[in-house]
């Protein structure tokens, strides 16, 4: 029972990171119908910026803020420089461009920072918390991870619901033509989506790196699981991204915990099983809504 609780809590902590990546993918998907394969690479790059700033200033929070700012800039620059020219072109072109961006960022990180594994500091203690004498399987930092992503998600949800920018984003995602006809600058909305996605990705990078180390392709596997979470939840649904991330995190934690070393070898296989089961029942994710394929 204690084990179960431990696995659940640590699964939630990791799941929130997958949720953050999933959410950033959903933000871009809703705007441009595009899967951003560079999301993990962007997060990796901003985390390197954070590590450099922390090293120079000695302050974790300055580095944290620098990573988020870099995420905003990187998201905007990527959208304006290489994604916007592909609008109206075959849809896989933009996907290939994001793959090119990913490769480019990983190569640049290798040139600027070298390929070796670097440890990344955690904001809070990483020793396990205890309730009385029972270890909970999570640390103060894990709690911070979950709360940080939760806060970001809630802020986004509030922004979507109650601000005019959020209304514009929802309108553009719902029907771009109608949104444009009613005076919304859809291109700006798309850029805003990339900015927010860059921000969330940067957050995920800073939060996950203490437990994975940082190297040029350190975010690849996190990206795959974040993508899986987004697909499980349904790519149009921000709520689905969070639910998908948590589901994936918790189940993978059980698999790793109960199946031993073989379980951790088979992480991707377990994720595949979850994905296949979900897609069998709901071919467009759990929160796909009632929209049907148009013919």
């Amino acid at each position: 029972m204690v084990e179960f609780l431990q696995f659940t809590l640590s699964g939630i902590s990791f799941g929130m990171i997958y949720a953050a990546i999933a959410l950033s993918l959903v933000l871009i998907w809703r705007g441009t119908r595009l899967l951003n394969f560079a999301q993990g690479g962007m997060a990796m790059f901003t985390t390197y910026i954070a590590i450099e700033v922390i090293y120079r200033t000695g302050s974790y929070w300055t580095g944290f803020a620098a990573a988020l700012a870099a995420g905003v800039v990187l998201g905007a620059v990527a959208e304006l420089a290489v994604i916007r020219p592909t609008l109206g072109k075959p849809e896989l072109n933009a996907v290939i461009i994001t793959i090119g961006l990913l490769v480019l960022l990983e190569g640049l990180a290798g040139i600027l920072y070298g390929g070796q594994y670097r440890s990344f500091p955690a904001a809070f203690s990483v020793t396990g918390l205890r309730a009385g004498s029972t270890p909970l399987g999570v640390s103060r930092f894990d709690v911070f991870v979950a709360l940080a992503v939760l806060a970001a998600t809630l802020l986004l949800a509030i922004g979507f619901r109650y601000t005019s920018a959020g209304l514009r984003m929802r309108a553009a995602a719902f029907n771009a033509t109608a949104a444009r006809l009613s005076g919304i600058r859809v291109a700006r909305v798309i850029t805003l989506g990339w900015v927010l996605a860059g921000l969330l990705g940067a957050l995920a990078g800073v939060l996950v790196s203490p437990s994975t180390f940082l190297y040029p392709d350190s975010m690849d596997s996190i990206f795959v699981l974040g993508f899986t979470a987004a697909v499980i939840g349904g790519l149009d649904s921000p709520v689905g991204a969070v639910v998908g991330g948590l589901l994936l995190g918790v189940v993978l934690s059980y698999a790793g915990g109960y199946l031993g070393s073989q379980g951790s070898d088979l992480t991707a296989l377990v994720a595949l099983v979850i994905l296949v089961v979900v897609l069998m029942v709901r071919p467009a994710g759990i929160f796909s809504g009632a929209r049907v394929r148009r013919v």
């Binding site: 119908r33 290489v82 896989l92 070298g114 033509t177 697909v231 991707a268 467009a284 796909s288 148009r294």
Partner: protein, 373 residues
């Protein structure tokens, strides 16, 4: 099948075969290895371009089929010592069956959902090798023994023989796929890609067409995996990463999705750009961390540039240069495009497409992926 086109395909294949033989004799063994590498890539990418370009199903998991082909080859050569041609046939058959299973499971999925499921397949399957080291050799993988046949003499370089075998398989695959895509099967795939409902109404069995595309694509990837096993003489999970699967799709799109010459261009680019950049970087005496990453940066930059300059891929650019645009004039066509569906590349989106892109101002793209020549 239009019979009159077959001689042209065969003629082109013959010319390429002669060029490959001459090149492999003139060039050194490293270049021979590259020829083999390109031929392997072509075999896999040609299968994928049929799946994604003709039947409209995106797969990011063809690396998994390559892994299955390679492990089948490794196990058969290790335990039974069969001749390679028999092994190749079995590898293609095994992956064809796997492709049927995956295709059946994927038949309801579209666009990014299909991409996500296949991507995870590509990541998950090789990890099985780690989980069962007794059968698959774990991280170390299986060693494969492959030698030149006796009739070529003892001094015949192994890399040249490998280049010949790989190129032969790649060319036969290309010829077969060219014929297939001109046949009724290929027309059914295009019909399904363009409008599933219309295709079904016209009597096409949509599910069967989609699954068949997976079968064909998987067996091509399986053969590519078998070739990879005999060229690298090792089958290990490290060879079948997410990068491999992504590189296959990249090559297909960069070359010109749905066109077989495009598969060749894309494979050339994906294999040669990193090696060329490595040559340049090492010859300028850069530090190792820079020199080892220059090829990666160059590769990424080339991907972005080619897509920005040639939206229809390299083959589209080639056609434009040759002034072949009259072959397949752009014609308006209704697209079965829905949120969550990725319409096939190169196709003008329907005017009232619900996808929120500012598309009204864009002229219809000349889409040139009609025939595979």
């Amino acid at each position: 099948m239009r019979a009159q086109s077959t001689p042209r395909v065969l003629g082109a294949a013959l010319v390429v075969a002669v060029v490959v033989v001459v090149l492999s004799i003139k060039l050194n063994s490293f270049r021979d290895y590259q020829i083999a590498e390109i031929a392997i890539e072509v075999t896999a990418v040609a299968g994928l371009t049929v799946l994604t370009g003709l039947s409209g199903q995106v797969s990011l998991g063809n690396g998994a089929f390559m892994a299955i082909g390679a492990y089948t080859t490794g196990l058969l050569l290790l335990h039974l010592g069969w001749p390679f041609i028999a092994v190749l046939v079995v590898a293609a058959a095994v992956t064809a069956v796997t492709g049927a299973v995956v295709g059946a499971a994927a038949a309801r999925l579209h666009g990014p959902y299909l991409a996500g499921a296949t991507l995870l397949l590509g990541v998950a399957l090789p990890s099985v090798a780690n989980a069962y080291p007794g059968v698959f050799g774990g991280d170390q993988g299986l060693n494969v023994v492959f030698t030149t046949p006796g009739f070529l003499g003892v001094n015949f370089p192994l890399t040249r023989w490998q280049a010949w075998v790989c190129s032969a398989v790649a060319l036969v695959t290309l010829v077969l796929l060219a014929n297939l895509s001109r046949s009724r099967v290929g027309r059914n795939w295009r019909a399904v890609r363009d409008d599933e409902v219309a295709a079904a109404l016209a009597g096409v069995n949509v599910a069967r067409a989609r699954i068949l595309a997976f079968v064909v694509s998987a067996s091509c990837a399986g053969m590519a995996g078998a070739l990879l096993a005999i060229v690298t003489e090792l089958v290990a999970p490290g060879a079948f990463t997410i990068t491999l699967s992504i590189a296959l799709l990249t090559a297909a799109v960069i070359g010109g999705l749905g066109t077989l010459p495009g598969a060749v261009w894309g494979s050339l680019l994906v294999v040669l750009v990193p090696t060329y950049a490595t040559d340049v970087a090492t010859s300028h005496g850069l530090s190792t961390s820079v020199a080892s990453n220059i090829p990666i940066v160059a590769y990424g930059a080339v991907l972005i540039l080619v897509m920005l300059v040639f939206p229809q891929g390299i083959q589209g650019g080639v056609r434009w240069l040759l002034g072949f645009s009259g072959v397949s004039p752009a014609r308006p066509r209704r697209t079965a495009s829905a949120p969550g569906a990725t319409p096939p590349a190169g196709q003008p989106p329907a005017l009232l497409d619900s996808s929120p892109l500012p598309r009204e101002g864009n002229p219809p793209q000349p889409h040139e992926k009609e025939d595979t020549q």
